[in-house]
Amino acid sequence: MSVYDAIIIGSGAGGAPIAYMLAKQNKTVLVLEKGPLIRPQTATTLSDFKRDELISDGTEKVLKLNVANNGEPFYASHVEPDINDEPHIYGDNGKDFATIEGYTAQCVGGGTNLYGGVSLRFTPRDFKLQSFNAGRNLLDDPNGDVERESRDWPVDYDAFLPYYEKTEELIGLNGTAENQAKPWNLNKYQTPLQANPISTYAFDGMRKLGQQLNSANPAKPYRTPLAVITADHAPSGRKVPADAASLKTSFVNRYGDPLGMKSSTWVSLLSPIEDLPNIKIKPNCTVTHLNSQNGKVNKVFYLDPAGNMQGAEGKIIVVACSAIESVRLLKISALLNQDFDQRINQNQLLGKYFLTHAFGGASGIIPGRVDKSVALDSDWATDCCNNDQFLIDKGLWAGATIYNNTSDSALPLSLFRTKDAMDLDMLWKGVQYDMNLKGDAITAFLDKNFGRRISISYMANQVPQFNNRIDLHPTIRDKWNKPVAYINKDWHPHDKKLMNEIATHCGSILQLGGVALEGSGSSYQAVNGLIRIANHVLGGARFGNAENDSVLDRNCRAWHFDNLYVTDGAFMPTSGSGNPTHTIEANSFRVADHLLTVI
């Protein structure tokens, strides 16, 4: 194979849909994936994904890098990068930290193997936040940052709609469309499984909160869309077990699925086309840099599984490594190639406007007890804080989706290691140092918590800021001696106002549902709150209509390049009111249609 029609770097939500569409149209495609290929089990082979709590957050490793949290323990998944080998470094008040991110996996399918599968569409409003906020006088925004920095997407919800439908069908999602605050045309969802009994409290609370916020037109709960099939899925050829309810195992969030029922991009898109003669999928291959000449990327350099440098050529190059790694790849390429540097850095926006989600929620203890080990990641969601009326009433720039978590702290080790831990970098610390929690006190702890904990989360847009950025770290290198990504970010005051508002409503949901509220809060309030909001990494190479105001054009093509596209979450100018995977996949299907007109 001398020159592929397309080389796709990254096999997750951003890359796989394009590989799929192009390969199915007989284009020659090479997929280069840094991580391993972990297959679900078959009749004759086992999977290296397991229902084992020491797989999702394993035994202790120690951070050895020359950073401020040197010596700290971390507990990682087997499909996350080792943060001594391949860290992302975060700046916080003048010091550098390395941390687990949570959903940036390194394996074929990427984060789609690790996530709980929450697959929300963005609302029409999410695509037009600049228009919506024009002329608004928002609280906690004295400099008018929201009005100045928010951007309408160059493509709106109506253009995305058919691609959302395509994603829902091809990836394999279950959920209910009714009551979602988004226009709906075709319903491609599979039927959700019966909710876990604990979710009744969430449902009741969400229903009541919807009425409280808008009695004339109350927002009602809907079944959280999840990337888990509940019935046979014809597009991927997957068949569910005879007893589909047995898929509720609570080994969902941060677990790859040994049965392949979680709809990772491997099982839904790439595995079905693996044997086509025109596609080659290469796991364990790390792309190091790209070369370009006169605006055409003419070579992709990568390390093969043994660490030997190889090269490949493609007519179209798609970069989809997850936002931080994609920006990093582009910046390293710029260091090594002048043509690349001049073009990718034509307006200084590469790496800027890095985004995550504002997120937080509330937790509490239900009156009774349920078996939480029989659950998926979430059962009920509501858009009561995601409609225009709510945003206007509350003076907020953008909305949030709220949903309940069902499998969190369901299993014994998960319950213990997340005690007092706001996020993954605080695992085990609560239990390890709460010295009185022993013997009878542990029995009491279990009596109070086991099968009784319920939490509600929200996912909200984050105000874009120029200075929230991805750079290359000046000194720290990865295990291949390449500079690692260096992220500096801060919350905007309006983010905090929004987070406080939504977190309070999450608490209300629990109280209205009859749950003893333990507390509510947001990620910015956590110890390490600045760096911990890295669960969803987005932005850094935003798309737009004007080449002086974006890194990519409306088709995610890098300005001043003929053939370079970036299709992971880096393309987003605003982060959306929900988990990003579904929108990343839909966008990739959209870009794929465009590519089919140019290849």
Binding site: D82, P241, L303, P305, A306, Q432, K482
Partner: protein
């Protein structure tokens, strides 16, 4: 001639490279002129404890839990030429050499050599490589076994093993006393449950991979601890060795007439509280600065050992999980038990669990 205990398995290059690339492959490929002096990650592999790879394997019934697929890997150094390479070990007669074959990628030699064998769980094995005719210990796996004749071999154990190699009896007994301070299994109710449970396991013993020992009123947390200190958290082995010795000395000073692991419950409780506070009379802070930290390790390890998958050595037969299953029953109006609030067997593989689809 005796048949080999271990059966050779056809190698799966794709699976092997999944591990080799992430954990072993590294080195300066770009920007060679600016290699940082503290670039330990260019040369120190990640998670060396994973090697040799000890993976699940199905038996003749198609169930996991009885066999492990063990993959030996030799990673050649730059410039190292291999004319012959094999592995010998106690999983077969020692005169039987198992040749390693090269792992190729797209026709090229990757520098990885490998051999895969199926061996029974619950056991430990010693082995070494024979590279170009001379004996070599495993350069990746740090576990060693030293024999009385002074010879040293490489060493590994399979799932469901109790690795007390690195610890003496008295250390293990003392560890039990400390771990038992943490676990919730000391109530009469819990004790009754555990004893009943082990009787049930003993009757079914032929179905389980390992024999049931009297477990000193626990679910095998200390089994887990000794395993994890030999393997995944070997960096904490010295914490335990040093601190157990300090604790032994301390307790003997308090009660010179009893072995340290036999002292009264009151003395152990006092010790626990002192370690929690950080102020431990008689502790040698020059040898180990932070007894509270060590107590934290014991806590995390004990709880992990009680509730992690039994293949790691604790939670024997699922005793910890069954404790939760029994402790939180669902009762009908007539107060009869009709179910449980923790049906862990539904998701887990047979024979440990009941799931019809997931093999493990």
């Amino acid at each position: 001639m005796a048949a080999p205990f271990a059966a050779i398995v056809i190698q799966n290059d794709e699976q092997i490279l999944n591990y080799c690339t992430k954990y072993l492959a590294r080195g300066a490929k770009l920007f060679n002129e600016t290699v940082a002096p503290d670039s330990f990650n260019l040369t120190t592999v990640s998670e060396n404890w994973r090697f040799p790879l000890v993976l699940s394997q199905t038996d003749e019934k198609g169930e996991t839990g009885k066999l492990n697929k063990v993959i030996f890997i030799w990673h050649t150094k730059p410039g190292e030429n291999i004319s012959s390479i094999a592995v010998v070990g106690s999983f077969a007669p020692l005169y039987q050499t198992f040749p390693l074959t090269p792992v190729t990628y797209e026709g090229n030699n990757t520098g990885f050599y490998t051999c895969t064998v199926d061996v029974p769980v619950g056991k430990s094995y010693y082995y070494k490589f024979i590279v170009n005719g001379s004996d070599q210990l495993d350069r990746i796996n740090p576990q060693r076994k030293k024999f009385t004749n002074g010879k040293e071999w490489s060493f590994f154990f399979t799932d469901y093993y109790n690795s007390s190699e690195e610890f003496e009896e008295w250390e293990i007994s003392l560890l039990y006393r400390l771990a038992n301070q943490v676990v919730p299994f000391r109530t009469e109710e819990a004790q009754n449950f555990i004893n009943r449970f082990y009787l049930t396991l003993a009757k079914r013993d032929e179905k389980l991979a390992m024999p049931i020992y009297k477990l000193d009123d626990s679910v095998g947390e200390v089994n887990y601890i000794t395993n994890v200190l030999a393997k995944e958290e070997r960096h904490h082995l010295q914490d335990y060795k040093v601190c157990l010795a300090l604790i032994d000395k301390l307790l003997r000073t308090k009660n010179p007439f009893t072995d340290s692991w036999m002292v009264s419950e009151e003395l152990i409780i006092d010790l626990y509280n002192e370690m929690a506070s950080g102020n431990v009379p008689g502790w040698d802070y020059n040898q180990y600065a932070n007894p509270t930290y060590f107590l934290g390790l014991i806590r995390r390890h004990t709880i992990t050992g009680a509730f992690s998958h039994p293949k790691y050595g604790g939670n024997i037969g699922g005793a910890g999980w069954n404790y939760l299953n029994q402790k939180y029953p669902i009762k009908n109006d007539a107060a009869q038990v009709t179910g449980s609030y923790f049906n862990w067997q539904l998701a887990l593989e047979k024979p440990l669990g009941r799931n019809a689809d997931y093999t493990g």
